[in-house]
């Protein structure tokens, strides 16, 4: 999965992967026979290597430090179980299909809108991840300085996004964008997993947001996560029919936290899990802040023809349970 610098390229890096049409968050999945399984690591710690090469302004050691911090940020999410180990520096480059998880720089001048990308090699007989690599495109300037460097992209921020993919998360749509000269630019976002990166010099994505935490918890959550948090589920409908591909956001007015989800079938069904118990405000919007292929497969029809709509009631989310049968009725534009 890719992290674009300005605009969404229409290429899919991971053609073998699909978005899993179940659960709360967009997760990566893979076909296993006739089934689709969530892509997740099954044994920990995950062992990874770093390519022993730096770029202008960032040594291999500084790069490794930043990547390790990003891994640790994901591992620190409460009530989840993930861990990783840096094994050592290697000469191998990412994407070499050598059976090792390699993270490093790669020159990809043809991908001039892709800052970084993550690939997987999966055993299609059982869905096991055999290898995952992450590359950072050397055609962009990089930095690991504590406060960020103007005009250079922050390694740790981009690593946090890519490691989100590495752990099985797909993209979040919690952000707003604008089109400038045919290129899409992010105005604001509230998820590290938003597909379009902040501008160079911005280090805001070094920390996870509520949406990211809900997503990783959905994959690797412990029993405590399931016991302490709750979910909402229901449908988005237009003239009585389901709306597919709607972006539904739960806003907790008490904490200000935002967690997003999608309607993932023709019935317009959605589930948003990992919510703090208590009142939530639900808002449904069309998926118009990024290229649809950043979120779904090409053959997934997304309905963009409806107005942004708030659900008519405050939804009380129970601890360890779900608020169900919510119907958000939207109207055509």
């Amino acid at each position: 999965m890719t992290r674009r610098s300005r605009a969404i390229a229409l290429t899919a890096v991971l053609t073998a992967l699909v978005v899993v049409p179940v659960g709360a968050y967009l997760k990566l999945g893979t076909r296993v026979g006739t089934r689709t399984e969530s892509l997740r690591w099954r044994t920990f710690p995950i062992r990874y290597f770093i390519t022993n090469a730096g770029v202008s302004g960032v040594t291999a050691q500084q790069f490794q430090d930043a990547v390790t911090r990003a891994f640790n940020t994901w591992h620190a999410v409460e009530n989840t179980q993930t861990s990783s180990t840096f094994v050592g520096f290697v000469q191998a480059r990412p994407f070499s299909e050598d059976g090792a998880n390699v993270i490093g720089y790669l020159s990809q001048p043809g991908q001039d809108r892709t800052l970084a990308a993550t690939t997987f090699t999966v055993d299609t007989t059982d869905g096991r991840i055999l290898e995952s690599d992450i590359y950072f495109n050397t055609i962009f300037p990089w930095s690991t300085s504590d406060g960020g460097t103007a005009d250079r992209y922050d390694v740790e921020s981009i690593a946090l996004h890519e490691i989100g993919h590495f752990l099985g998360l797909s993209h979040s749509a919690l952000g707003e964008t604008e089109l400038i000269g045919g290129s899409r630019r992010v105005i604001a976002a509230q998820s590290v997993m938003f597909p379009i990166a902040f501008r160079a010099g911005n280090i805001a994505d070094r920390s996870l947001k509520a949406d990211d935490i809900a997503g990783i918890s959905d994959i690797y959550g412990t029993s405590t996560f399931n016991r302490e948090l709750g979910s909402v589920s229901g449908r988005v409908t237009k003239s009585g029919r389901g709306v597919q591909g709607a972006h539904v956001v739960a806003f907790n007015p008490k904490t200000g936290k935002l967690v997003g989800g999608f309607t993932l079938n023709e019935a317009g069904d959605f589930v948003i899990a990992g919510l703090e118990p208590g009142p939530q405000i639900l808002r449904a919007e069309p998926l118009d802040d990024g290229d649809v292929t950043s979120f779904f497969d090409d053959d997934f029809d997304v309905d963009l023809d409806f107005r942004v709509t708030f659900y008519e009631r405050i939804v009380a989310v129970p601890r360890g349970g779900g608020a169900r049968d919510i119907e958000i009725k939207v109207t055509a534009k």
């Binding site: 009142p279 405000i281 919007e285």
Partner: protein, 225 residues
């Protein structure tokens, strides 16, 4: 059986001394039990603004606001029941429960993508189980002694349930105030009680830590025996 006998004896003793309304006995009488039930009104509370904020691309600018909300708990009308024991003419102890169904209201405005402003709600179930000391100001009796002003103060347990009992929030409640009790008839057993005061809540449904204060008022019918 023993309990019925005691009650009968108390009634006889009380009845024996009960004068006509204009000459009513000074109340409340010590060693009596007061049961009351009626309505209560608990004031509302503003939780304030809470905005759905995104992190701006321009890192130093203020947060990007996706939409704004203003939040308040509207006043709730409900029921209350109390039972008290008059220790001396001036002092009583009591316990009770107040139940109200306030509405939590959110006004949603200024949506970045143009969603119409709207107001959405949920109904809470709010319980307060409390105990209190009541001080009758016997020196200020009125209506020939059948009415008496009082002051009260106490604490209790606050339990708030969100809609469909989906989620419970708990806290502590402290209250203080004043009112009047006024008994009717020669027996002095039945009367009314009206009160008003403040309720300080720590915990329960709130947007921030700390205490909040709401006005409370109530009116009840009292039966004394």
């Amino acid at each position: 059986m023993q309990r019925a006998l005691v009650a009968a004896v108390l009634a006889i003793v009380a009845g024996a001394g009960a004068p006509a309304f204009a000459q009513s006995v000074a109340v409340p009488r010590p060693k009596t039990v007061e049961i009351s039930g009626g309505v209560t009104l608990v004031g509302g509370y503003d939780f304030g603004a809470s905005n759905a904020e995104l992190t701006p691309n321009a890192g130093t600018s203020p947060p990007f606001v996706e939409f704004k909300t203003t939040n308040r708990l509207k006043p709730g009308l409900g029921l209350q029941g109390r039972i008290g024991f008059v220790i001396t003419p001036a002092l009583a102890v009591e316990g009770g429960v107040r139940f109200t169904r306030p509405t939590y209201e959110v006004r949603v405005t200024d949506d970045f993508e143009g969603a119409p402003n709207t107001t959405i709600e949920e109904t809470l179930s709010q319980y307060v189980f409390d105990g209190a000391l009541v001080w009758h100001i016997t020196g200020a009796r009125f209506a020939g002694g059948s009415g008496v002003p009082f002051l009260y103060g106490g604490a209790g347990y606050l339990r708030e349930l969100h809609e469909e009992n989906a989620f419970v929030e708990e806290g502590i409640e402290y209250h203080a105030g004043g009112g009047i009790k006024w008994w009717f008839g020669q027996s002095g057993r039945i009367g009314i009680r009206a009160e008003g005061g403040i309720s300080i809540r720590d915990g329960g449904f709130d947007f921030k830590d700390g205490k909040r204060m709401v006005p409370v008022a109530g009116a009840s019918v009292i039966y004394s025996f």
